[in-house]
């Protein structure tokens, strides 16, 4: 039903762009991202529609002999010589940079993460999954309205440089999300659960189980008094602790003196229970890649935090050159229209020894926090956070008592990472690219409206 992989502009034109640059004595790399995606949506349990997208974006980066940087991004078709002219025009006002466009590895021995079952996924199959999810929830939770989105597609990244080298890799992706809404009197409950992965193997029953569990635990509403409590963050909830840390580890923020971790690399800052690694080649995880968006080969594993000690940050070519370091293959582009910036591929937070159930059972009094409102709206640079609890539960005597509402949690992420009491053994992938356990932190300030 969808015509995929059609090439709008052959690779020969891409090669011509970098050849023109080479002939003019200019360093250049051309990043090309081709994506096709198809998705279906259900709204309140009813099929709504089908969306198909096919896009190619190209970003041309040039460095002139006087080291000035230029960038021009475009969609196809575009005349190769015009693309080079445009980038050069920009470079007249660009920054003088201290890095050079790298050579690409001659070997192409990596594996593409392409699942033919996703490339060939028909609308009918997607509809079957959608009907199943909607039907199952309707059967067990008749008062709940379900929105479902199912998306599948393929992404290809290619890089061409003025050495006339080229590298490319492809991956497929598959995303299923459920948003279940229950309205009771004047209470509106929304439960959102997602799974994203590089192949077809998303366990939809596990996804359903998670939605149902959250709905069931939310049946009862309980109140909580303001005060300090131990808080068990679920894998999606613990992003509030991770985002400020990722800001702090960003090489560009360090280079500009904006990171609180600027002079702290090599120091023990957090609980010895906390370790964070980047695993760029993790099979089928969504951020996995053999090379970053600047053509630098990724390592299999890289330690960022080891037992509370900050070991390394994220460095792209620009920030590494700025600070006299080496790139860590962390140059990623938000889109082909953006220049590379330090980012991560796939992250894993080291898990603990005991299951989350045990952590809850041993909790005398506290909260389980699953999702938050206003992430990133506090002072992420200093680590301060203050968020509305969108979905959270009150625990007393080792048992979940019910859902809490009109409650905020506040603190400092860097402090909280010091105050980790335990991490669970069981982990879950968040957005297909961060593997996280449940994290128990004590204390966290809780403010309640009542």
């Amino acid at each position: 039903m969808f015509d995929c992989g059609r090439s709008l502009w052959g690779d020969s034109a891409m090669r011509e762009v970098v050849s023109i640059a080479k002939a003019r004595g200019i360093q250049a790399d051309l990043f090309v991202r081709k994506v096709w995606e198809k998705s279906i949506e259900y709204e309140a349990g009813v099929f709504r529609g089908y969306v198909a997208r096919e896009h190619t974006g190209c970003g041309l980066r040039v460095i002139r002999s006087d080291r000035r940087l230029g960038f021009y991004a475009f969609t196809l078709p575009c005349a190769p010589s015009e693309a080079v002219e445009q980038a050069l025009e920009v470079s007249a006002f660009g920054d003088a940079v201290d890095f050079t466009i790298p050579s690409y590895p001659s070997t192409t021995e990596w594996k593409d993460f392409v699942d033919p079952r996703l490339e060939g996924l028909s609308v009918r199959e997607m509809v079957e999954i959608g009907e199943y999810l909607v039907g199952q929830l309707k059967a067990t939770h008749p008062g709940v309205l379900t929105n479902v989105r199912i998306a599948a597609g393929r992404e290809e990244r290619e890089l061409f440089n003025h050495h006339e080298e080229e590298i490319r890799f492809a991956r497929t992706f598959f995303e299923i999300s459920i948003e279940a809404t229950r309205v009771k009197d004047d209470d509106i409950l929304t439960v959102y659960v997602e799974r994203s992965w590089g192949n077809r193997d998303i366990d939809v029953d596990d996804l359903l189980k998670e939605v149902k569990l959250r709905l069931d635990l939310s049946e009862r509403m309980v109140s909580v008094q303001s005060g300090q409590y131990p808080v068990l963050f679920t894998p999606s909830g613990c992003m509030v602790l991770l985002y400020p840390l990722l800001y702090g580890l960003n090489g560009r923020n360090i280079a500009f003196g904006k990171s609180p971790l600027q002079d702290k690399l090599g120091k023990v800052l957090f609980s010895s229970l906390f370790s964070l690694v980047e695993v760029p080649q993790e099979p089928w995880a969504l951020g996995s890649c053999p090379f970053d968006d600047e053509g630098i080969l990724t390592p299999e594993e890289r330690v960022l935090v080891e037992s509370g000690k900050v070991e390394d940050g994220f460095w792209d070519l620009w920030s590494a050159a700025r600070t006299g370091r080496k790139t860590t293959a962390s140059g990623f582009r938000r889109s082909p229209w953006d220049m590379p910036e330090p980012g991560f591929s796939v992250l894993k937070i080291k898990n603990g020894l005991r299951d989350r159930e045990t952590l809850v059972e041993e909790l005398e009094e506290g909260l389980v926090v699953d999702s938050l409102l206003g992430l990133g709206q506090s002072n992420i640079a200093s680590g301060f956070f203050s968020c509305g609890v969108q979905l959270g539960f009150y625990v007393k005597g080792g048992e979940i008592q019910g859902r809490v509402k009109n409650v905020m949690i506040s603190g400092n992420a860097y402090e909280a990472l010091k105050n980790i009491r335990e991490l669970s053994r069981d982990c879950r992938w968040v957005q297909g690219s961060i593997l996280a356990p449940y994290i128990l932190v004590e204390p966290i300030q809780v403010n309640a409206a009542s």
Binding site: V46, V51, I188, K258, Q377
Partner: protein, 458 residues
């Protein structure tokens, strides 16, 4: 092009509703960071989308690049839409219209040499940096975008638009030891290059404010009376109420419809809220929305009563109401969905000074960092604030995040001042569609008993 579009939009033979959108966008983005050009890029995009609703199935949407294969896209879409499952939806049809909406800015940014833009930004970055010895990072971010859109639909509409957008923001990061504070402010508009000239004072102020935040005390959490300045009050109404008035949230949810039934008292009588895409030249303005429906002023709350909601053609069909011209898309990559345009709180009669008088202990919350909504629950953050003690504005405070509940908080607005103004820099994200310009307007507003997050409980 218009002839081709007119012809293609007439293709449906079985009662399908069909829309074609073609876009060409040229964007210049410049980011000066201290004394370097951190980012300088020009991007050019040409793409299109096709959307078809079959009376017996559902929506078919395809987004593509290049304008050459339009005829094939339409033929393929019409063949494919029939095969989709039933959705039970429909659209309200409109009158066809042919229009050309052009824009002539005073100083067209397309004609400005890149060098002139960069020079001006460098000068601002210097002022921002020199405003305070504590400023470690001074960022000046500029963006101009010229979008041209061809739109045609099966009602017989063919519309050509020019949509310029220009923005400039100053971001200062101040640092004292491990303490880091960020402050930002800027301008944005449907305007030409003239908008970004003469902002020296603003640049200086942003640097000064970042420094001031270093010395401000964190505000302790608790429940307080709060006065919102017009900027934050606009964000508040956008988050607290605007989103839940977007009819796609409830068009298939009967319980939610009952909860949000028109005519229901939902706020205190001092509150009236509107959305108006037909206003001249705000960033959310346009004579037509992205489904070719005329924009209008829609009252969402009148004197405390729920009085209207925002519709696309589809939500209006599902609820048996009329489209309000609120179907918007951020680009050809996405289908139009129900969005706010320019949303505001209507001015009251009291002076802003009167709002502080009887507050024993509270906070005056100023400007904004952002806001977030999950239906009834919302949070919004001022950039900073001032303590209010014994009716007087006192010392500067920071780290304030306000949160609320739609059904409780709107009833706690007990005073609306008479100093209405628009803030144009705001944008909104919904679903996958981020960065849609959504200006907000408001006077000063007072709220009683708001939950404020913070590290220590008061």
């Amino acid at each position: 092009m218009r002839e081709t579009l007119r012809d293609l939009a007439r293709r449906p033979q079985n009662g399908e509703y069909l829309e074609i959108r073609l876009e060409h966008t040229v964007t210049t983005s410049i980011r000066i960071h201290n004394a370097t050009v951190e980012r300088l890029k020009v991007t050019e995009e040409r793409g299109g989308s096709l959307r078809i609703l079959h009376p017996k199935t559902g929506w078919w949407f395809a987004s593509f690049q290049g304008w050459d294969d339009l005829e094939e896209h339409v033929a393929f879409g019409l063949r494919s839409v029939v095969l989709l499952p039933q959705s039970g939806t429909g659209v309200i049809r409109g009158e066809g219209t042919e229009e050309e909406i052009r824009f002539s800015p005073r100083e067209d940014f397309r004609g400005k040499p890149l060098g002139e833009k960069v020079q001006l930004l460098f000068a601002y970055a210097r002022m921002l940096r020199e405003a305070s010895p504590f400023v470690v990072s001074a960022v000046v971010e500029y963006r101009d975008e010229w979008r041209t859109v061809y739109f045609a639909n099966s009602d017989g509409s063919v519309i050509f638009w020019e949509k310029p957008d220009i923005s400039l923001s100053f971001v200062a990061t101040a640092r004292k030891g491990d303490q880091i504070e960020v402050y930002r402010d800027g301008v944005a508009g449907k305007a030409g290059f003239e908008l970004v000239r003469g902002l020296e004072e603003l640049a200086h102020r942003v640097g000064k404010q970042a420094e001031a935040l270093l010395f401000a005390r964190p505000f302790p959490g608790g429940v307080y009376d709060v006065v919102l300045d017009p900027v934050l009050a606009g964000v508040f109404i956008h988050e607290a109420f605007g989103h839940l008035s977007e009819a796609d949230f409830l068009s298939r949810n009967e319980r939610l419809q009952k909860l949000m039934v028109l005519g229901k008292p939902i706020a205190s009588p001092v509150l009236s809220v509107f959305d108006d895409g037909s206003l001249e030249n705000l960033r959310g303005s346009s004579p037509y929305d992205d489904e070719g429906t005329r924009t209008q002023r829609t009252y969402l709350i009148r004197e405390g009563y729920l009085s209207g909601r925002l519709h696309s053609r589809e939500t209006a069909f599902l609820l048996g109401e009329s489209p309000t011209g609120n179907a918007r898309t951020i680009s050809y990559r996405f289908p139009p969905i129900v969005r706010m345009t320019n949303t505001g709180i209507e001015p009251g009669t009291v002076s802003p000074q009167d709002l502080f008088a009887d507050i024993e202990r509270g906070v005056y919350a100023v400007e904004y960092v952002g806001g977030n909504t999950a239906l009834e629950l919302f949070t919004f953050s001022p950039a900073y604030g001032y303590l209010i003690e014994g009716g007087k504005i006192g010392e500067m405070v920071k780290d304030i995040v306000l949160s609320g509940n739609l059904f409780q908080t709107l009833g706690k607005i007990d005073a609306v001042a008479n100093d209405f103004r628009w803030t144009e820099v705001g944008w909104c994200g919904k679903g996958e569609q981020m960065g849609l310009p959504t200006p907000t307007g408001s006077p000063h507003v007072r709220l009683r008993e708001v939950l404020v997050g913070g590290q220590r409980h008061a």
